[in-house]
Symmetry: C2
Subunit: 496 residues, 2 copies
Amino acid sequence: MDNRLIVELLQQHLARQPEGLMLRIRTFLALRQAILDGQLPPGTRLPGTRSLSRDLGMGRNTVLRAYEQLFAEGYIEGLIGDGSYVSEALQRVGRHPTPKRLVGTRREGLSRRGGEIAAASSSSRIQRGAFMPGVPDTENFPFAIWRRLLSKYFQPAQSHLLQYAHGGYGPLKVALAEYLHVTRMMKCSPRQILILNGSHQAVDLCARMLTDHGDRAWIEEPGYWGSRNVLRAAGLDVRAIPLDAGGIAPTPEDWEAPPRIMCLSPSSQYPTGVVLSLERRLEVLEQAERCGAWIIEDDYDNELRYHNQPLASLFGLSRTQRVIYVGTLSKVMFPGLRLSYMVVPEDLVDAFSIGNAELFREGRMVDQAALAEFIDSGHFTAHIKRMRGIYRTRRDILLDELGARLGNSVRVSGGHAGLQLVYLFDAPVDDAALAADALADGVVVRPLSLYYMDRSRSEPGLNLGFAAVPDELIRPAAIKLARVVEVHLEKAARRG
Amino acid sequence: MDNRLIVELLQQHLARQPEGLMLRIRTFLALRQAILDGQLPPGTRLPGTRSLSRDLGMGRNTVLRAYEQLFAEGYIEGLIGDGSYVSEALQRVGRHPTPKRLVGTRREGLSRRGGEIAAASSSSRIQRGAFMPGVPDTENFPFAIWRRLLSKYFQPAQSHLLQYAHGGYGPLKVALAEYLHVTRMMKCSPRQILILNGSHQAVDLCARMLTDHGDRAWIEEPGYWGSRNVLRAAGLDVRAIPLDAGGIAPTPEDWEAPPRIMCLSPSSQYPTGVVLSLERRLEVLEQAERCGAWIIEDDYDNELRYHNQPLASLFGLSRTQRVIYVGTLSKVMFPGLRLSYMVVPEDLVDAFSIGNAELFREGRMVDQAALAEFIDSGHFTAHIKRMRGIYRTRRDILLDELGARLGNSVRVSGGHAGLQLVYLFDAPVDDAALAADALADGVVVRPLSLYYMDRSRSEPGLNLGFAAVPDELIRPAAIKLARVVEVHLEKAARRG
């Protein structure tokens, strides 16, 4: 091909290359594009670097570096001496000349399970504002202490803490075992504790280690959407078992088709706050033993119980190693930390440790070291105690304000622990529409129907988070919300 | 029951409670144990708090708090007035009087896939020492800068960064999109970038969004054990496709039973360092398009290429949106950071974003903010450039030393980029036995056979990491290793 043609071609391609790149990279990209487009077909001899650099008005070294890169990536053969030729391997190129978009809808190309995951979107893009549930206060976090601890462990002398890890940080496991012993009356060895990145990962690990594709899983109805979606994504046949006042209430028929695994929140059911009764605890443990089912005990906010001690764990009550306990630091430290822990029966420790290493590959030892010292120095319990007081005050303001305005038309469920409470309507309110209207007024609430798998069973209600809302913002937001609720109660009355 | 009997019983149980707990908790535990053991059967009237506290020699308040806790948890009914009775609900208790261990072997109770995960244990508990592969140097990490950046973002004014996240930190996605543009010649918008906790999570997300249980997946043979195990745990039928000098080399028969997904490391195959040839790249892209397969491009260490620019990505070469690019910060920042990123085709962005939120729940915005500023301020490229020089020196020392001692009895594969290189033996050396002997001498190496799914195809070799070994420690370790290798070469010669 005539060198003048090649120069012209390259000038056109060069003009189309993105700004801000070094000239030699733009030259490389221009040449590559001409080759990939078939304008410089396989076998074409490229101009020498001296003449091309002169014709393009750039340094010879620039062209040389572009050629080197083309050579390194296989686009041209020969670099010096006999000259450079477009690679014969490129005969294949050019059959798909224009970028092709995936055909059809946005979901096109996903697998069946991928499509189900995408369709089950339940987490919210909004994570702030009155009354987003499940979210702790982070303004009162002891930032200075945490900065000091991170800085203490991010040091050259501790550079090994920056490497991959295999098993959690030893002192953290010791600290957590002691903490669980004192606060949750759980006897476990540090060896039984696994550190994970959040409770979704803990549920996922249980699902993969203890169940097979197609196995049945039980969750609570209503229940936490996260566990539901994680279990489904692990290929399980997820059934939601309705609650009553004593917590999850499987019927005798339910027990005839028992699950391989069940995900429970016995201390404070999410989102209703219902405590699993002792009778029901014993029944669940006994049946699990009978049918070889595993229980995941999701104990997400028991530290934040406003009266008495935290309730004893199901894990501690079990005598048969069928319970895996999952705790999280998201609520009592901060959600973005993404650290959770699980306590597994002694006989499962080895297998779960391997699973954790293989599936997730471990690290984050600096964070774990800082957390271990945070716990050991007493900052952890002090922070929890302080936040419990703050949250209790916020809960009381919310209860007062909504109680005064809505009176008997709503019932409260939960609020004895944690970060949120549920308001139930006796009238047939459309809670999703209510939540949408509240959002339009700047108030974030999550409709109770969102927590149901079978929405036909759904009791209308709202899940309200009070913990992350500063005291002085609760009242104005509650007033706004009460107005929206009143409108929807009237609508429901007209419908009824 | 006679109150004196109850007192005696409780004294026995109290003596057995763990030290270090508050007296009221020990009292609660003692009472609970007596109830659960059936020594205080349902219906038993407990002594009044006044008499029991006197008989046990403790404050009345202590007993009262223990009773309150028993009441809150449902072990007793009635708290004041008519007295407290052991709950009738406890009729069920006592059928499994002794803690029961899971029957049979250690693996008992795992599911089939759980058993497979546990059996495929490939990650090493040893993550340090000459010559552990895949591990970067962390001693030369700019600790002071990183501490400063973390402290800058761990501030009350930025408390929202401590909350859950939905989608990665915006400025980090912008910084990574620019970085990929300049270094990898990839055109992508920040929207296409997802932030994850390590590349295992990225592969897992691809597997769940793009494949169904039982689908076929291809990996490279030899290849990274992590991808293999993650794909298997997602229920895929994983096939390992052997390499040749041009990288992964599927036969026409292989393409007749094409995969739904394939996991490739085109820039620098792990562990061999082979670069996927341009011809093979085009073939793979074309076939993937033809049969609707997805390609995961695992680009784990391309920044650390010692000559030329990093090679252009497969993602950049693809015109049909079949490639998902996976990058990691583990090698160029530090492994314990547990941050990786992926670039997905535009049409998959929404679905993958939902999948990331649902399956893993996001957070860690402080780390992401610090990283974004680390990149934007130029520390990132400066650190990479500096480490590239350090690693190159270490590689050269290793090559010199082993070359001088082992000469022609070994061949080197890779070492043009990254953190490790492979030594291949022409003789039938038992590389696993060699690695075990080296470990006994204090030298960590990983046998090449470990990276094969079908070990009968395995070429004997060693994967040696040089990056994390200080210069002055390379030579002595290499001398030790050479001696062990010589012994095994002799053994192989005798066998041959």
